[in-house]
Symmetry: C2
Subunit: 255 residues, 2 copies
Amino acid sequence: MKVLLVYAHPEPASFNAALRDAAIETLVAAGHSVMVSDLYALGFNAVAGPGDVTQRANTEVFNLGLEQMHAVKNGLLATDVQAELDKLLAADLLILQFPMWWFSMPAILKGWIDRVFVFGGAYDFGRTWDNGVFAGKRAMLSVTASAPELAFAPDGRNGDMERVLWPIHAGLLALCGYSVMPPFIAHGIPFVGEEAMVGEVGRYRSHLLGLDDLQPLFFHREADIENYRLKPDVQPATPGQHRGSRRHLPEIGDV
Amino acid sequence: MKVLLVYAHPEPASFNAALRDAAIETLVAAGHSVMVSDLYALGFNAVAGPGDVTQRANTEVFNLGLEQMHAVKNGLLATDVQAELDKLLAADLLILQFPMWWFSMPAILKGWIDRVFVFGGAYDFGRTWDNGVFAGKRAMLSVTASAPELAFAPDGRNGDMERVLWPIHAGLLALCGYSVMPPFIAHGIPFVGEEAMVGEVGRYRSHLLGLDDLQPLFFHREADIENYRLKPDVQPATPGQHRGSRRHLPEIGDV
C-alpha cells in the first residue's frame, strides 16, 4: 500500500523523528511505499489564505471553502497545496506524526490540514463521514505527550485522552471518511530515559506491523443520524457523544 | 480592565470581523481598554521553532520549551513573540475570536499560542491550573461554526460542543490558570442570513456586557488531584473527565 507520513517537529534529533524513521523503515521493509511530508523541512506555509489559490473565484470577499472548491475544480490551487493534495489522494494510509502541544497539534500541521483538506477535494457536499472522500482508506495518529499516561486517564488531570483526540479523530479524519485506526501514543518522553524510549520505538513498530489486525475506532454512521443528531433509538457509543447532562454549556432545548 | 482580543480570520469583511468590531466598540464604550492582535493583518508567523529566540541555550538540539524558558528569563525572545507576550501578560481578559476549522482553531492562532504561551512565562513548573500564571484573570472564546447548533448537541453528529472545546478550554486556558468564561458561539453563519447575523452580533454584545454576572466554567482544582488523577472521593464534573468505559482507547490498568 501507499503510505503518506506527515511529520511535524522542528528538531531532526527529536524522538518524533525517531518514530518517523522507525515507521519508514518498518513499512518499507514490509513492502509498502512511503511518501513523507516533513513540514518543517519543507518550510510549509501554515497560514490558509488568498495565496492558496492562483486565481480567485471572488476577488472582493475571500471565503476559504468556496475558493478551495473553485480552485480544485479548475486546477488553480497553489503549487504547494496541490502537491500535498496529490500525495493525500494517492495514499491508502495517512499517518500524522506530531508532539502534542496544548492538547492539539503543532500549528504547522494544523496549517497543512487547513490548506490541503480542500473543500471540493477532500470533502464535499454529501461527501462526509461514511460517505466521505477517503472512505475505504485508513488514517492514524502517532503522538508524543510529555504528561504521563495517568494524566490522560478517564479521570486524569488532563481529561480522557480519547476525548482530547476527538476533534482530530472525529472532526478531521472520520468526517473525511477515513477508517481511523487506534493511535500510537508515547507518554512522558522527556522524562522516561533512553531505554524506555527505545522500548517505545519497538512498541510503535509492532503497532504498525499489527495494523491489519486492529479494528478501526467506532464512529456513528450516517444511518444513525436524523436532523443532525443520533436517532432516539441509537445509543451514543463514541467519546464525543452522550445523553447525559452538560457541564460547561447550556442544555439544548427542543428546537 | 485591559482586554486582549486575538483575532484570526483572513477576510476583513467576514462575520468574525464583525464580531471583533462589536467587541471593541462594546468594551470601549463600557470603559475598558482593548488591545487587538489581528494575526492575519500582522502576518504573524505561525510556526514555532528556533527563530522564536535570538540566542539559543542549546545550539545542538532544539527543545521548544527549554529554549522558551531560557529566552524569556534572559530577554532573548524574538521581537514578535515578546510583543505578544507583553500584551498577554498585561491583559485582565483574553478573548480569542476565530472560525472553527476542523473542530479547532485556524493554524495562525494555534501558532500564536505555540509561540507566545512560553514555558517560563505563561506556565512553569508548579504554575499550572489553579496555581497558573494567569490565576485571577479571565479568558473567553468567541467562535463561529458553520454547522448548526444541533450538530454539536450532546448526541449531535459532531459530538458535544463542550467536549470539542475541551482541548482549548482545559488544555490551554484552564491549564494556564485563567478563569474560563462561557464561550460565545455563533452557529450556521454561512446559512442563516443577514437578519440572523445582526441578531447574533447583538447577542454577543449582551454576552460581553453580562460577563461579570456569569460564572466561570468549572475545572477541578489541584486539591482534587492525586498522582495525576481525581482523588477517589471526587466526582468528575467536567466535560473531559469521567469514570465510565472508554470507547476508543484501551482501559488503563492499575499502575
